[in-house]
Symmetry: C2
Subunit: 399 residues, 2 copies
């Protein structure tokens, strides 16, 4: 059987794995003595090694950002809309690296890995890792790949926070930071939603204080619920109205029924699922719970909560960027209520105050936080233009 | 010991109870053969019986809207800010009635009551009740109290939906409908949050398919989680920032730390509660779970989801109000993202299209959906002015 993949796809990709024996000192004070990192690369590294881009993933992402895995040619990587030949992150121009973060469940060392010292699953004993720790491990990978400097570090949401941390902690090793649909720190409301998600997981009787793998079970209900809450915050109210509502015609206006489509045409007068939106959330939550590790979910939400580079600078974020040497591109989406444009504008102000060069794009989009994963023309086109300029800079620098 | 209550308080109040033997046909097709209604009244009914106001409660409310119960003189009724001598709903002018809705857990017949036919708790066998059913039972109470017509039916949130239903179903028995912080129907996002709350409750192993009272237990964890989710949606992001964040001074601006105050001054690097906002939500959720029935919570959220008076009119809400004869006052609050002003404006349009008289007040307030319970000067003052006009109408009508 011949499989035809889209022409602009990076094609069939194979994850790579590297082992690191150098101990990694973590923000918490703990030390990870050794670890594995799983990653993928797309495109070719040039002879000057100047065209490498690091992609940082968000809460539920992993190293598989683009292309297809052998045997699974239906579902491409999570950011396939942006990575490929002629796409925003053009693999004809750039060498793209994406790793699964430590603490993840995609293959890099995390709670679902076995601790070589004990032979048991790390589970809840895997140390809490922060955005700063991830960036540190990304430096380790970069050194192993002999990349002197990233042309750009790029990420959406929690990935965008990693791009910011790169700009602050390793100014000499990054030329551009591209931070999409993110914020310089979570607000109380963001933290509150994360805590609800964590509470859903830890109160599931199958959680067993995090030792569920030892017990041969997993907190399916709790993880499903956590994802349902998360999913609501990734979508906008208007996107949900459009997705789950028929359009009602009216003499003067076209309006939807506010996303109230029923699942079976009539109300149950019971506590079953009545509306399509409920059905969808259950489906998404359950599918997610079958493919994701609950302890990783806890770790990722804490990394989000903890991220706040301003704390080392008396709360003044602009000071955090005084030593940054890269240029910045920020993107926000109008209906993203998880990290609204207001939060990106705040970041723009602080970057300008720190004397940095910033390109800021606010995209009209109906899809909420999820918009950063979608092929929205204005977004993709501006993103691509920016990276073409980055590539031109690289070529100009060449002898 | 002498207890001094505030001068404008309705003072010590005592709930009353009435038994109804007339069967109540419900929207679901089921019949409630008999039931009790618990209610409170404040102020005096005039001789013409024309000055009665019905207060309808929201999801977690009950009949105790104002004043104090004997032995509990610390915490007044849930809407004490608005009901009393000289307050918005002035008990010097009006006779105020507030009942616990059927299916509630404040004393009216509900899932936590015993079914006289079986001698067992109704539990999950209590029929699903809708806003329409509640209004029907409010008519029964009204008749028993020999009130011919309400001067006004008033409610916030789910209570506002009851006011709208009165205007549609019993046009001849209501002079004014006052609908605060509500919407003519939930959107998909609202329903999604309700489903997460229900799922939290029903997946608690102590839920026992709703027969927890029979099992001598209750789904504390699940109800706590449900309330935590709800509570986030009642507060605005900005209110949370202000409530849980110290103000950070800066040369140009005063800004908060986005509500990121820590509970113990430093991060735990574990999965404990780190931030004040988490601590607060846990406290609120737990306190609530000790005083509320989980089956009632399920019922109330379904009543919210199901409410949509436009369904009987091919989705055209304006047609639902063609036969309404009352005047309307609508109030919304700028940071209420559960039922944003947009939803009230939509209602204003449909009421105007139906030829109704509408007063609409959009209040700048930082407190989100919860604002309707708070003594916000502009809100209280306009609310009071409107009701003074209503009272003047009554006096003019008097011979």
């Amino acid at each position: 059987m011949t499989i035809t993949l889209p022409e602009d796809s990076v094609g069939i990709v194979e994850p790579q794995q590297l082992h690191f024996d150098e101990p990694l000192s973590l923000r918490s004070g703990k030390v990870l003595p050794a670890y594995d990192i799983v990653f993928e690369t797309y495109g070719e590294l040039n002879t000057k090694k100047s065209n490498a881009i690091l992609i940082c993933h968000a809460l539920s992402g992993d190293h598989h950002a683009a292309g297809y895995h052998n045997g699974d040619t239906k579902k491409p990587g999570w950011w396939d809309s942006c990575i490929g030949a002629g796409k925003a992150i053009d693999t004809n121009l750039f060498f793209v690296v994406c790793m699964n973060n430590l603490g993840g469940c995609g293959g890099s060392t995390g709670p679902a890995s076995k601790d070589p010292e004990t032979g048991k699953y790390f589970g809840p004993d895997f140390p809490v890792v922060t955005v700063r720790d991830w960036v540190k491990s990304q430096v380790m990978l970069m050194d192993r790949l002999e990349i002197p400097k990233w042309a750009a570090v790029v990420g959406g949401s929690l990935g965008g926070m990693q791009a910011l941390r790169w700009a602050i902690s390793y100014p000499e090793r990054i030329a551009h930071a591209i931070c999409i649909a993110a914020a310089p720190k979570l607000s109380a409301q963001n933290i509150a939603f994360n805590e609800v998600a964590r509470q859903s997981i830890t109160s599931d009787p199958d959680f067993h204080q995090g030792y569920y793998l030892e017990h041969g079970t997993y907190p399916k209900q709790g993880l499903t619920l956590a994802r349902m809450v998360g999913h609501i915050t990734y979508l906008s109210d208007s996107a949900m109205r459009a997705k789950f509502g028929k359009t009602v015609s009216d003499f003067e206006t076209e309006k939807t029924n506010f996303g109230r489509d029923l699942r079976s045409g009539k109300l149950s007068f019971g506590f079953d699922v009545d509306f399509q939106v409920e059905s969808y959330l259950h489906y998404q939550g359950e599918r997610f719970s079958e493919n994701f590790d609950a302890n990783t979910y806890l770790l990722m939400t804490k990394a989000l909560d903890y991220f706040d580079p301003s704390v080392d600078f008396e709360g003044d974020l602009s000071k955090a960027f005084l030593n940054s040497d890269c240029k910045f591109m920020l993107v926000s989406f109008t209906t993203d209520w998880r990290f609204p444009p207001e939060r990106s504008r705040e970041l723009v102000n602080d970057l300008l105050k720190a004397g940095r060069e910033v390109t800021y794009l606010e995209v009209e989009a109906d899809q909420g936080h999820d918009a950063f994963l979608l092929p929205i023309p204005r977004y993709i086109s501006a993103f691509r233009s920016y990276l073409c300029r980055v590539h031109k800079e690289i070529c100009q620098d060449a002898p």
